[in-house]
Symmetry: C2
Subunit: 445 residues, 2 copies
């Protein structure tokens, strides 16, 4: 059985040896650093004794598959991704995004929480087990490079390589502590539909003196967008909520157990506005959202330029709950725009992923609860029906028939996708111990 | 008396010698090329025998003042500006913006219609008169370098130098033909209020999975903006229209005489949307507008980045009619935002200018009508109570007590502020002849 203090010291000591992973700017949205990162993964897994394959057969960025034998017949599959979000806005980073820096017990780097740090913790644990009696169970890793693009190819890879990926249970990307410092055992994901709205009103920008008769792309976009939400933030798209299923009693109970520290969240993110919901814990699990990710139109430089913009674009995403289909949701939005008089506002669909939830009574969920009680303490964990973020998990469930849980190294201030993304070293150590104990308990079960 | 064909040929021949003015990127919004342009003006006016002064005493970009003696005691004052709009978006220019290019009878360059080409026509005429018996009347020029910034200093210069600027009549910046090819004698300007709206909701951009509880700066801005206009485009700001005065009978009649060729305008600008008014001619003269010039928020790059933006900015202007005060209008908008529940959306006031109209019965207006009949033909001109654009003319009226008319070289497809800004060579020639005949007729009157 793991010696906890020894593993924590080992994780801290080995941190630097895995940090090169954070130094490679593997930004899928900018097609940067992909091959370099794949090579690093191949080399690192091989050095730990894994059989490694790099898959290209379904297109897109290469997928790394690694397999390690353990001391039992049980197999755990891990899903991770090696791509990260673009680091912009660069001027808001206090340290360089691709130069991991330890600041007051926190490791700061783009991707450190989403999710390179998670894989580093898993690699550390493999190394530890190898040096201390071997792996308790067989491990498989599938590591893709397009998660931040909405994983457009991973479904095809899972389908094509289903027999290689076969496993008993699956541990997803990552996870961690919530705003109340509870360790989360997360059993599902929200879905996502990502799309742009574009409107063009003229062949070129016009002098703004012509605004007395010429229509304006920016105004069209603003009015079209505002027609999709009411003042209370409810989405006014016919059929948008139709496929949302009633919560099960188990899920309702799990939501009640989630402690949500509103004051702390507000401080952590420097929020200047009231919440858009009365029940944030429930909303994180079961609210479908319609979010503007970006707006762009006309003159955006310094000073003034008095034009009527010819074109305006909004980038948006919807976070979805189980049973809502991403492509259908996008189509409903386009139809609603047409109904609202905005047929000229065109929806360009980017990517979609479906939501899912693992049964909260699954034995692997219950095993996680037992280990969480041991490692974090009886009142310091929570079972979360699904996290508010997304990922391509639905295909894994459908093809491999595995229960999926999400556990990891984050805390509420990790800031995935934001400048100064970071993890706390203590969480990294604790989560490595947790995973080690989970694998041992799973072997023993 | 001018020989029309000779002057037209002269204007074409001399075009190149004045085109260096178009080659200097004198972009006030980017503080570029200012001193170089001032030096060019000094040298060019001096070479034509003018007494030239460069004024710095009221701050801002230098103001060029030039004075030439003519063969009568009457004095005509010209107002022009040497600064131009930024050329962006650069990829929409078919020829380089600061390399004037003659394409199928059209001269293309940033500033060629607004308003460097206008001054080039005036310089050409001076040279012609100098070589052909002298100037019929005294000429004064005031040429500022901050018009595209809203002329923040010109009022102070006009006040400080009122005695030097004293004149009998004033010819403004420029003018030209409307969409129906009528030559316009324009007798006023709209006012303008230019401002930004900014909203900040958090200390950093957030992962969009947090949209289920965290508010979104882009949504705040969209909802705030949409609360300022109804679906018909009417501005929903309490008091916005209160100071608009009823039109005089003269003005109503003048509006009726304006031919507005809707089909041609639609083609010229590639407009894809219906007009926002039933009566464009009247709207151009007397509609107050609220225009989004630009929108900016969150991720605007390629691909997707699923964030909740922390900050959103809109740039706007209002085109105003006589008696509407720009600063008051901006304050009404901020107050309306507060009333609508958007106290967090902050208005940053940039610049303002007041509207004005010269009396349509003024003798100098009537003299223009007579010369227009001679040069363009009895049915090919129109008296326009005011143009839809702005300028710092109100201070000239107040300090110098001059009637102001706007005449020049444009046509409806000139595209001021837009990519591929251009003039037709034939208009340039005609307008130079018109101005020559006007000065002669003014001497003779």
């Amino acid at each position: 059985m793991i010696e906890k203090q020894k593993l924590k010291a080992f994780a801290e000591r080995e941190l630097d040896s895995f940090s090169d992973y954070l130094r490679i700017p593997s930004i899928s949205a900018q097609n940067s650093g992909i091959n370099e990162t794949v090579a690093w993964l191949q080399e690192t897994f091989s050095a730990l004794g894994a059989a490694v394959e790099v898959w290209h057969d379904q297109g897109g960025n290469p997928v790394v598959f690694a397999e390690l034998k353990g001391n039992s017949s049980k197999t755990v599959l891990f899903y991770n991704h090696y791509d990260v979000q673009p680091p912009e806005p660069l001027d808001e980073w206090k340290t360089p995004p691709f130069e991991p820096t330890l600041v007051a017990g926190k490791l700061v780097a783009r991707g450190v929480c989403d999710d390179k740090g998670e894989l580093m913790s898993r690699l550390t644990l493999i190394k530890y087990f190898k040096e201390n009696g071997g792996l308790p169970v067989n491990l498989k890793f599938i590591i893709e490079g397009e998660e931040e693009l909405g994983s457009p190819h991973v479904d095809a890879y899972v389908h094509a390589h289903a027999s290689q990926l076969a496993a008993d249970v699956c541990i997803w990307e990552g996870g961690g502590r919530n705003e109340s410092e509870q360790f989360q055992i997360t059993c599902g994901l929200k879905g996502i539909a990502s799309f742009d709205l574009e409107v063009v009103t003229a062949a070129s920008d016009l002098h703004s003196s012509l605004a007395s008769y010429a229509d304006n792309a920016a105004w069209r976009l603003v009015q079209a967008l505002s027609s999709l939400k009411d003042q209370q933030g409810r989405i006014k798209v016919a059929g948008f909520y139709d496929d949302v299923m009633p919560l099960t009693e188990d899920t309702k109970k799990a939501i009640k157990d989630i402690k949500f520290d509103a004051k702390r969240v507000t401080q952590e993110f420097g929020l200047l506005r009231p919440f858009v919901t009365d029940d944030p814990a429930k909303a994180l699990v079961n609210s479908a959202t319609l979010t503007i990710n970006g707006l762009s139109s006309g003159y955006e430089g310094d000073g003034t330029k008095t034009v009527v913009p010819r074109r305006a674009v909004a980038k948006l995403d919807c976070r979805l709950v189980p049973n809502q289909e991403p492509a259908k949701i996008a189509e409903l939005i386009q139809q609603q725009l047409i109904k609202n008089g905005f047929a000229d506002v065109k929806l360009h669909y980017n990517t979609g992923e479906s939501a899912f939830r693992t049964d909260l009574n699954d034995p692997f969920v219950k095993l996680n609860v037992a280990v969480a009680k041991e490692v974090y303490g009886a009142s310091n964990y929570v079972v979360v029906p699904n996290m508010p973020g997304g990922g391509p998990a639905k295909q894994f469930v459908d093809e491999l028939a595995v229960p999926i849980v999400m556990i990891g190294i984050h805390y509420a201030g990790s800031g995935p996708h934001a400048p100064n993304e970071n993890i706390r070293l203590s969480d990294y150590q604790d989560a490595t111990v947790y995973l080690g104990r989970l694998l041992e308990a799973y072997q023993a079960e």
